[in-house]
């Protein structure tokens, strides 16, 4: 009887310990693709694909980006949106902006496309000095679930526009990013024939801000 008790105890412990030590990796298979609707005040093309969650930095299993949309085009920029766990951040004046109380870290990646060469950006370059507003609207109720302005920051996978936000309810949402001209933040473009890239910001922002909208984001609250 003692032996049975010992075996049972050992079994229960081994089961639990094996979970901590034994499970090393998971397989993540891309599975679905869906169409996305986009609305833009400027040239915005439809080109959305959804991939499996991405783990930047390989071994950093705690940092898995979940895509919201990828490859939406706003004039000279390709715009991607992902989210992951809320993260603490810091700048020179705020040494620790806590992640406490937030549900996700929403990230907007803006990379120059081929059109970006007209403003001097290399293909795939991160586009700095943008002010990007985000708006997340519940597709079923029409209520604004979250809105605000991204801040510029760097993570281990590079610079991006991001923000910790509160989004405590699972649901279907429409996501809109409004991109302001970098000129608003005093970003300049050379205009002379010798050193200028050829284009001007007003070529793209002359009629106002660029807007990228992704409709039908099926979001579920996650345990981080």
């Amino acid at each position: 009887m003692k032996m049975k008790k010992l075996l049972a105890s050992a079994g229960a412990l081994a089961l639990a310990v094996s979970m901590l030590a034994g499970c090393s990796s998971s397989s993540a298979a891309p599975s679905s693709s869906s169409a996305a609707e986009t609305q833009a005040t400027e040239a915005v093309s439809e080109s959305v694909k959804e991939d499996a969650a991405i783990t930047p930095g390989g071994d950093n299993a705690g940092f898995t980006e979940t895509p919201i949309f990828e490859g939406l085009t706003a004039a000279f920029m390709d715009v991607n949106a992902v989210y992951f766990q809320p993260v603490p951040m810091a700048d020179d004046v705020n040494p620790d902006i806590p992640a406490e109380g937030y549900d996700i870290h929403l990230e907007c990646d803006v990379a120059a496309n081929e059109e970006g060469a007209k403003l001097g950006y290399g293909l795939g370059d991160w586009v700095p000095y943008l002010t990007i507003d985000y708006s997340i609207v519940n597709a079923e109720t029409g209520e604004v679930a979250a809105e605000g302005t991204f801040m510029e920051m760097s993570a281990s996978d590079g610079p991006h526009y991001g923000q910790n936000i509160k989004l405590p309810e699972s649901g279907t949402y429409n996501v809109t990013f409004t991109i302001h001209s970098p000129g608003e933040n005093n970003y300049l473009i050379h205009t002379d024939a010798e050193t200028g890239p050829g284009g001007r910001l007003s070529d793209y922002f002359g009629d106002g801000n660029l807007t990228v909208t992704y409709e039908g984001w099926e979001y579920t609250v996650q345990d981080w």
Binding site: S9, L15, A16, T64, D92, V93, I97, S170
Partner: protein, 418 residues
């Protein structure tokens, strides 16, 4: 404090009740030795949770969703083993080893429940510490107290569920325990689906998404179902206690019976009280925690003289955020804020607007100043310095008990408020 009280209670109370009921059932069905096996599971769960909590907060190697899927997956297998060997073990001439295996499965289930629920609860003080940057601040201590109180309440719920269960016979207790285990199994299955869809291991569709949406938005319902279960258990016993008619042979036996039913009554009432408190925390306190933001109203400044605005420092002595405004010639309201910095004789003065979010303004929450638009928490000591989401800087001086701000300096930001 209330935020952490709700978090800890919401996460822990369901598992605590299930672990308590399982403990009573294992003890009742298989005896004290099986109870010891079960205790090993509880200890293992707590130890593993502590390790997980440490790993989550100090390394980037833990993908919580992935771990949850492992816990839920193993949990479903363990529940199946528990059910099979429990039922098979109750058959006539069933070998005793079946009971041992059932007890071991229950022990593993308890370990998994704690392993899943406890890491976050153990990590909340760390998160609160990160937010406060000091273990000595009142705010941190209050948050810590909230977390500890939540855990304490959950432990009480677990103990009460176990004690209540022990007042029943093995068969009815078995039925109640199985209901709790089935609720847990449903939660595990939905939890696995949730992770599988989030991680795109499987394609989602409308039905699955609706199911997962329900699961994630109504997580407390699993705890409510368990509350209902244990409250029903308590009510049944309370009703029975009104019609006690057990035979006794002598006064001593009579006293023993009366003491037994008094204990039953007390545990029944205690269970209901604990459930009531938990439900209050998970509903009313939660609602309070998520209440809409209240922005401090615009106050009149002390005086305006010689092109300067004067704000008496006495107004700021309370350490709270104060909002003031002037109106420009064309009617634009230009707002500015002032606050006395904590543990300091200096003041933070700035516009009620920032470079990034414009004139959206700031509000005070739990002693912190937060940007209303982007929710970024300001370090009060850095108000007055430029950068990030800090308030736009305005020139000011402190003279003879007044904060003195040139009107020109305020008017310079007029366009921010248009």
């Amino acid at each position: 404090m209330l935020y952490y009280l709700e978090l800890a209670t919401g996460v822990m109370v369901g598992p605590a009740i299930t672990v308590g009921l399982l403990a009573a059932f294992i003890q009742s069905r298989y005896g004290k030795k099986a109870g010891r096996i079960y205790t090993v599971g509880i200890i293992a769960g707590i130890v593993l949770a502590a390790i997980m909590s440490y790993m989550k907060n100090t390394t980037a190697k833990i993908d919580t969703s992935l771990w949850n899927s492992r816990i839920f997956g193993v949990g479903i297998i363990v529940i199946a083993v528990f059910a099979v060997f429990c039922i098979a073990g109750s058959l006539k001439k069933a070998p005793k080893v079946m009971g041992v295996i059932a007890a071991a499965a229950a022990s593993a289930l308890a370990a998994l429940l704690l392993f899943h629920a406890l890491p976050d609860v153990l990590a909340y003080p760390y998160a609160a510490f990160i937010a406060e940057q000091s273990t000595f601040s009142t705010s941190f201590l209050l948050k810590l107290i909230g977390d500890v109180l939540g855990v304490f309440l959950c432990i009480l719920c677990g103990i009460a569920a176990g004690r209540l269960g022990s007042k029943y016979g093995t068969k009815p207790l078995g039925v109640f325990t199985f209901i709790a285990v089935i609720i847990t199994a449903v939660r595990f299955i939905l939890g696995i689906l949730h992770v599988a869809i989030t991680k795109r291991w499987m394609a989602s569709n409308h039905t699955l998404f609706t199911l997962i949406k329900f699961y994630t938005n109504k997580r407390y319902w699993f705890s409510y179902a368990l509350f209902l279960l244990v409250v029903v258990m308590g009510i049944i016993l309370l009703v029975r206690s009104l019609h006690v008619n057990e035979p006794y042979r002598n006064p001593a036996e009579h006293r023993k019976i009366r003491a037994k039913w008094l204990s039953i009554k007390r545990w029944s009432v205690a269970m209901m009280v604990f459930c009531g408190i938990s439900i209050f925390i998970m509903t009313a306190v939660r609602s309070y925690n998520n209440r809409p933001i209240e922005v401090a109203p615009i106050e009149p400044y002390t005086k305006e003289e010689d092109g300067n605005i004067y704000v008496s420092v006495d107004l700021l002595e309370d350490g709270h955020l104060h909002r003031f405004a002037i109106t420009s010639d064309d009617g634009t309201e230009i707002r500015f804020i002032a606050i006395k910095k904590p543990n300091s004789t200096s003041y933070g003065v700035g516009m009620d607007a920032c470079e990034i979010c414009g004139e959206t303004g700031y509000y005070e929450k739990d002693g912190q100043i937060v940007c209303k638009l982007c929710d970024v928490v300001m370090n009060v000591n850095t108000i007055g310095y430029p950068g990030g989401c800090n308030p736009l800087v305005v020139e000011y001086s402190v003279e003879n008990g007044y904060i003195v701000i040139p009107v020109e300096g305020l008017l310079a930001y007029e366009k921010e408020f248009k």
